[in-house]
Symmetry: C2
Subunit: 200 residues, 2 copies
Amino acid sequence: MRKKPTQQRARILVDSLIDAAGEVVARDGLEALTTVRVAARAGVSVGSLYQYFDNKNTLVAALMDRVNGDLIAAVNRVAPQNIGTDPQAFARALLEAAFEVFEARQGLARELMRHWHRLDIARGLHRFEQHMLDLLRGYALAQLREHPVDPSPARAFILINSVVFTLLRYLSQPTPPLFTREQLIDELAAMAARLITAPR
Amino acid sequence: MRKKPTQQRARILVDSLIDAAGEVVARDGLEALTTVRVAARAGVSVGSLYQYFDNKNTLVAALMDRVNGDLIAAVNRVAPQNIGTDPQAFARALLEAAFEVFEARQGLARELMRHWHRLDIARGLHRFEQHMLDLLRGYALAQLREHPVDPSPARAFILINSVVFTLLRYLSQPTPPLFTREQLIDELAAMAARLITAPR
DNA sequence: CCCTATTGCGAATGTTTATTCGCATTCAAT
DNA sequence: ATTGAATGCGAATAAACATTCGCAATAGGG
């Protein structure tokens, strides 16, 4: 951020720019995100955008940060309530939460995640991955006796990426899918549970 | 393709354009693929490119077709030899084959697959998905007695996407990974086997 | 009320690229 | 050898955007 907003109106402006960016991405995709359009949608001028963001990527990064925050918040909300349940139920709860965030705001999170290879987005995904690893470790610790679980980096990596990208693909299908959302979640939860409880 | 090449030299030109496109993508990524650069690398002019491709996307689609063909060929080469083995060995063989293709040509297939959401690439991925579903059905049929397997669309979808995208992510990591390639393949093969043999 | 830092503006600039088109060259059939 | 079709050329065109910059408006402390 080139300059940090000190006045109230400036802070509002920055917020509304991020909001507008989210709206544009949700409606027409990340490719359609242009600085002029974002500014217009926020009801300000391009020049003002560059007052607070070094360049377009910084804006995208800020948007990603926000969406990532939503994702982590959603997961954090359900995890504590389910830390005492068996692995499949635990996985299911997290999955439902993630699913909801991916569908919220016309699929904003989904559209952003699609572009995980972009530098400004990759950081967010990595942070989310890290957070999920921590969560998994917490669960493993809580369930040491009842449901011994292996939170090795390899398994956590596989788990997170398998789930996230399968969800992404499912939600991005243009044609009506061959199976229901329920089926997908069931199978994914079962797979996750088997993965983390499988013997070494 | 605007016009189909009838003369020998034209067919060679088309081929060398696709080759060049692959080289550019492998070296500098899909973003760096410009028509002028491809033409230059192929030793021809942009005009000639447009003689045989309607637009840039058609060229990308042609490249994707070729890479997709490689992928399917690689899988077809190992599948018959392993159709009699247990699910984990079968999965492992296919995985190794896919891994190799993803690493070949400086990661050309990987770079293309990263952009699965692009229309010109999505078709290829979908065709590959379809092919893997067929393969899985063939395996299920061959192993009816020995290793009963469920090739339901939902499971096949999860299987393919989990494996492909986890591989992609693993191979795209900038930092040295926290676990070895062997570990990854082992875990993925085990996961795949558990997924398709799990009871309904 | 005054003054200066902050904020806001948006037309203009510069770059990057896909795509075209009129002309030149080569092929291959007769 | 002739000729029409196929091929090849690459400078020119046009559209899309990110980013800048000189100027205008506003805030809020003194």
